[in-house]
Amino acid sequence: MNGSKSTTMIVAAVTAAMILLPLLHSGGSVSAVVNFLAPFVTTVAVLAVIAIGLNVQWGYTGIFNFGVVAFFMVGAFVAAIVTKQPADSEFVQYVGGFGDRLAFLPVLDSQEWLPFVFGVLAAALAAALLALLLALAALRLREDYLAITTIGVAEVLRRVTIEEAWLVNGTRGLTGIPRPFAGWFDAGVYKFVFLLLALAVLAVVYLLVERGISSPWGRVLRALREDEDVVAASGKNVFAFKVEGFVLGAALMGVGGAFYAFQQGTVSPETFTHFFGTFIIWAMLVLGGSGNNAGAIVGTYVIWGFWSITLQLQGFDLPVFVVDRISFFRDFLIGALIVVVLLARPQGLVPERARVSRWLERRVRELQQQGAKREATPVESAPRTAE
């Protein structure tokens, strides 16, 4: 009760700040507020898809991925090179560039949407493949070894994007990434169209994951997080379930990355730091409440709200001393927030619903009954005393 009240208050406070700050900043212009809110909510929707992906991995399956940025980044770059036109200048190098060739349907203005369908699918697939490789190699590891391994994969991929200039144009990154439906609307309207698209994607992802999680498959997944041994003892292939959870989560991160690329229009290795690509997403999930997709969305909203507020503050006439440090202070608070939330309110803002796992309870009870039967034949001492 108390918890949900404070959650509502936090969300309300963030929302109020998101409206008031641009209002103050612009001297009371409503359109300034709208122009600020539209991209803000779009980014929230995009990052929430990634947070839900992490929730599938950590919140539901209990897999420990400290390399979120790897899948995020792969999704973004793959979507970009699939939808862009081929490189046409000697200063720009990248592989792919299938934009035109993918718009092969002669009807319905297919260049406005078809390449993007392929782009998103390719992004999801690439992230999923990366996850599959990683899973086969490392998913049997202990949790902390897996964590450092995922950090390593992320760092290596970041290095590859920087060092291999032919791949995605090195540190200069990719610019001019096309946007779905952009040709059908003029620029002023388009940002709302893209906002709706992002929200629709988030809704679809949310519903699909919710469906999956309450299916028998999802119940096993959640049971896995609670107690791998019981799941194994029930004859389930624990490893296969973990791989599936990991790959699915990664695919969602890839999708999020794709829409991030479309929204930003440019992506470069500098965008995908461990801090932005991994920690922030963890902070979002931990704050929102892992094991709950709604929590992941609320956490994304609050953290990204906080992020945007600090950016807004820089626009005000603050002392230089403060302006210089505000982004570092923000990062400090995000780090501290992870710690404080896990200490004081480990369930997060939106606790997981108590549907945890009746499946698990039932299995535990069955196993206990079997065990009790064994124990009821009491005389393990008998053969020994008979010696």
Binding site: E375, P378, V379, S381, P383, R384, T385, E387
Partner: protein, 239 residues
């Protein structure tokens, strides 16, 4: 034993368990000075759980534990050993990467002085350990490991020693040896509370015994009486 004397260890109505589940429900046990007391009972009866709860490794939810008349319920183990009670767990009861000597030194960690002297006494009781004090405990055979575990607990020269299944999974020869040592330690004045699967052997050696079943007291009495009781013979002695 003089029933009038104050019990050394007095466990009264103890309830404890793991997570939300109570494994022990109102268990009562007494050990008088100089006694050997055995606890027997089927696997999973909660015997090890009882030991852990007495020793402060598991929270006691109800009931009391007194040592020499003083309340020690829920005191942490590092405090209890300083009050003259030591404990040999059922499993993982030596430090595998430490040498025999280091295991004994750690056993005497709470001593203010005389560690070397005490180690000499303990090693005289276990000559097998004195042969290779630099050997790592993880490389010892099961039997020697068990002896080392007991030796480790003796480093503080306790009034009361808690032993959880000291003879479990040992060869018949080592079982003999361990029980001999238990008798020797007791003869030197240390009271012993011992959990055993090897019910006949344990009861033969003990003064009194308790039968624990499903987390509750089932039977108690003089060890000889228990050995003769029909229920014990049928259920725990395999007759």
């Amino acid at each position: 034993m003089t029933a009038a004397a104050m019990p050394l260890l007095d466990v009264a109505g103890l309830t404890a368990g793991y997570g939300g589940v109570d494994i022990l429900r109102g268990v009562s046990i007494r050990v008088y000075p100089g006694e050997i007391v055995s606890i027997i009972g089927p696997n999973g009866a909660g015997k090890s759980t009882l030991m852990k709860a007495i020793f402060g490794l598991l929270p006691v939810r109800a009931g009391q534990v007194r040592l020499a008349g003083q309340e020690i319920t829920n005191q942490p183990p590092e405090r209890l050993v300083r009050r003259g009670m030591c404990y040999v767990p059922q499993t993982d009861n030596v430090f595998p990467s430490l040498t025999i000597r280091e295991n004994l030194e750690i056993g005497g960690f709470a001593r203010d002085g005389g560690r070397g002297e005490r180690m000499g006494q303990v090693l005289r009781l276990f000559p097998a350990l004195a042969e290779r004090p630099g050997e790592r405990a993880g490389r010892l055979s099961g039997g020697q490991r068990q002896l080392l575990a007991i030796a480790r607990a003796l480093m503080l020269d306790p009034q009361l020693l808690l032993l959880d299944e000291p003879s479990a999974s040992l060869s018949p020869k080592m079982v003999e040896m361990v029980f001999e040592k238990v008798a020797e330690i007791n003869a030197a004045g240390t009271a012993i509370l011992m959990v055993e699967q090897n019910a006949r052997h344990a009861l033969t050696l003990s003064h009194r015994g308790y039968v624990l079943a499903a987390g509750e007291n089932r039977l108690e009495g003089e060890a000889r009486q228990l050995l003769d009781s029909d229920e014990v013979r049928r259920l725990y002695l395999g007759e």
